[in-house]
């Protein structure tokens, strides 16, 4: 029996400074942020980039345009409820919508791997065409490159998009407009996209299959704006999930965001998968869900119009913004205890979009 005197307290030396890219740099969490802060912002920094929003809002001859870009590397290319094509259109459309902009024109760049089956490409392109039609956007320019077999993974897609912020949007829709007193609303249940990808990748089978929530979010944003809701901020809840998005806002605005676990909507099958796999739905990626910050007095009106649109009919209020302690997201658990909800650290699931 070892006794206290023989206990040898041991621990390793610190890890050497990161000298290579690891998958977590693309995870949307803390390492992605470090990459942006340490490599990209110092090189490219300018006031528009430093808004750190899903897209940039640029003034052009009196109009306000939103501009954004996104690359898609999801594996597998075709997954329950969609494929890389839907994702590439809706991802960029949603980034524009989150700026409060009506999506108008998109570009598409394809990086194809030698040996990709033409049928797969046809399927992806057909989905893109369908998604673009549904979102009422036009694909107006594009590019194609092919890389040697083994140097890509079937198909990677980049899309960029331009949208217009219409003149009737009075406030700036951005994390900078979030204020204490705001109510946080999510547009529906969380975690479907991440669990759908995981189910095919890990060969998990559920009684009722989980489909990706991949969808165009502009109709929901449009009804909010048309109803005259004073929208302070919109964020889609992609990589890193709700937790990471709220942390970014709490940190940028130096505010306190308080959530109630019992109010956060999660589908039962998704919850079950998360319980089994040790995942937290707050961190699981979505491709058709967003959070909206509105003044408390307008929360009911916002919910009323959101619920009328199919993609956001599950909208609910989940929390509120307070002043202090700043830079913190706290969740009150079902049993009444409190815990801090941190930003995603490390990689939960690589290549989810």
């Amino acid at each position: 029996m070892a006794d206290a005197k023989t206990f040898n307290l041991s621990c390793p030396v610190p890890r050497v400074a990161d000298d290579r890219i690891v998958l977590a740099h693309g995870g949307g969490g803390r390492l992605t942020h470090q990459l942006i802060e340490k490599i990209f912002i110092p090189a490219f920094g300018n006031p528009m980039l430093e808004q750190r929003h899903d897209g940039a809002v640029v003034p052009v001859n009196g109009a306000r345009l939103a501009f954004t870009t996104d690359s898609f590397v999801v594996r597998p290319v075709i997954f329950p409820g969609g494929n890389i094509g839907d994702l590439a259109i809706n991802g960029t459309v949603n980034d524009l919508a989150m700026c409060g902009a009506r999506p108008l024109y998109l570009s598409a760049g394809f990086i194809l791997e030698e040996g990709l089956e033409m049928e797969t490409l046809r399927t992806v392109v057909a989905s893109m065409q369908q998604a673009a039609t549904n979102a009422n956007v036009k694909l107006v320019t594009g590019d194609t490159k092919v890389v040697d077999k083994g140097k890509g993974d079937g198909i990677f897609v980049n899309t960029s998009g331009i949208g217009v912020i219409e003149l009737n949007v009075p406030t700036e829709i951005s994390p900078a407009s979030v204020q204490p007193g705001d109510v946080v609303i999510v547009s529906g249940d969380l975690g479907r996209h991440g669990i759908a990808i995981l189910s095919v990748r890990e060969g998990l089978e559920f009684e009722s299959p989980i489909l990706s929530d991949c969808a165009n979010l502009w109709p929901s944003v449009e009804v909010l704006l048309k109803a005259g809701i004073e929208v302070h901020c919109l964020r889609d809840l992609t990589r890193g999930g709700l937790a990471t998005t709220l942390n970014e806002i709490a940190s940028d605005r130096n505010v306190y965001i308080k959530l109630e676990e019992a109010l956060v909507p999660v589908n039962e099958t998704v919850q079950g998968a998360c319980e089994i796999l040790g995942l937290d739905p707050l961190y699981v990626a979505n491709e058709g869900r967003f959070a909206v910050f509105v003044p408390a007095a307008q929360a009911d009106a916002a919910l009323e119009v959101l619920k009328k649109v199919e993609v956001s009919q599950g909208a609910v209020r989940i929390g509120r913004v307070e002043e202090s302690p700043g830079r913190t997201v706290v969740l009150q658990s079902r049993i009444g205890g409190n815990r801090v909800v941190d930003m995603l650290s490390g990689e939960q699931l690589p290549r989810i979009c």
Binding site: F7, P12, R20, E275, R334, G337, N338, S345
Partner: protein, 374 residues
């Protein structure tokens, strides 16, 4: 969600918490053995419901945390071999070895894969007969049956390109090591429910008797833990030191006999090195007899350099319940989940990582106390 929501019911939680408050008259330090329990405690903010007399300390029951650094170095060395597919549960990948983690090794081109079961690794071995598939078999008694079954299946099907890098540890010897330590602060234990699902709880009777310490086999949901704490506190207040079973919906006194039989067929008891605690006699499993040919240690001889240790990490004190994570000077400063100094900052079951992620940082405590708080 059925079988989950019932155990997170706020009213029942408050009733149990009230019963605990009513019961305790003096300070008591209770250790939950299992990292899964630590995770629930911190994630559900359970300590907010407890009276100040109850102090929970977090035990060594996180397999990732107690796997010795030498073995991580060995895993890294094996994973680097071009003929190897190295399979592991996800948590092990980020644990720092002497110079790098398995994740770093993967970034450098090694074929390192996350699997959810050792049998998935065995399947990979069948699919890749020209490669060597190695599974990092870490864990307590809970994961031992599945790992034993993988070796048994490999033997049964004559699969030769499969091996296990074994680092299996056992709970009761670790409890004895903690209890026999001069500076032991623990007055009662919440035993790890899942370990007892396999092993039963007969082996705890001599420990409870010898050290006069209450041991309550406890589950993993918030209400399980509150009830386990209530039962332990009741024993302490009443001067009893018994083995009780809170987790009776999953745990039988004799445990899971077929699982134990499989373990006994494949593994034998051996001394083990525990990271942070040192060597504890008869505290682990190693492959025995005809299964030794599946031992990655034998298949891939490795002469490691002596592991380097960080003087800033106090994980040994944390694993013994002598310190809490936020009492470490490096906590959340030099030591974070992205740059962990020690293993408890890595795994989701590690006490330091649980404190970090769920905000049990000293500076936030006052603001975090809700209305239900002490």
């Amino acid at each position: 969600m059925k079988f989950v929501s019932e155990y997170r019911d706020p009213k029942a939680a408050e009733q149990l918490a009230a019963a605990i408050r009513k019961k305790v008259t003096r300070p008591w330090t209770i250790m939950e053995i299992c990292g899964g329990q630590t995770h629930t405690i911190v994630k559900s903010g359970l300590e907010d419901l407890l009276p100040k007399e109850i102090s929970l300390v977090h035990g060594p029951g996180c397999p990732v945390c107690v796997t010795p650094i030498e073995l991580i170095d060995k895993a890294v060395a094996i994973a680097k071999r071009p003929d190897v597919i190295f399979c592991s549960f996800g948590d092990m990948l980020r644990v720092p070895g002497s110079s790098k983690s398995l994740f770093d090794t993967k970034a450098e081109g090694a074929d390192v894969r996350i699997v959810y079961s050792p049998l998935d690794a065995l399947k990979l071995a069948k699919q890749n007969p020209e490669r060597q598939v190695v599974f990092f078999a870490v864990g307590f008694e809970t994961t031992a049956p599945a790992n034993a079954m993988a070796a048994w299946q490999a033997n049964h099907e004559g699969i030769e390109n499969f091996s296990l890098l074994v680092s299996h540890v056992l709970v009761p010897p670790a409890m004895e090591a903690l209890l026999s330590s001069q500076n032991c602060v623990v007055k009662g234990f919440l035993a790890a429910g899942h370990v007892c699902t396999i092993m039963g709880f007969e082996e705890y009777f001599p420990i409870a008797e010898k050290y006069r310490v209450p041991i309550v086999v406890t589950g993993f949901e918030p209400l399980d833990l509150l009830e386990g704490i209530y039962m332990t506190a009741s024993q302490l207040e009443e001067g009893r030191h018994e083995v009780e079973n809170q987790y009776s919906r999953a745990v039988k006194r004799e445990g899971n006999r077929p699982a134990q039989k499989t373990i006994a067929e494949v593994f034998e008891i051996s001394p083990r090195q525990w990271r942070g605690l040192g060597e504890i006699p008869a505290s682990g499993f190693q492959l025995k007899g005809r299964f030794q040919k599946y031992d990655a240690n034998r298949r891939f001889p490795f002469e490691g350099v002596p592991a380097q240790e960080s003087p800033d990490c106090i994980s040994g004190l944390i694993l013994q319940g002598l310190k809490k994570p936020h009492e470490c000077a490096a906590f959340a400063v030099k030591c974070t989940p992205e740059n962990p100094l020690g293993a408890p900052m890595v795994s989701s079951e590690g006490a330091c990582a649980a404190y970090y992620h769920y905000g049990r940082r000293q500076n936030l405590q006052p603001e975090l106390s809700g209305p239900a708080s002490r």
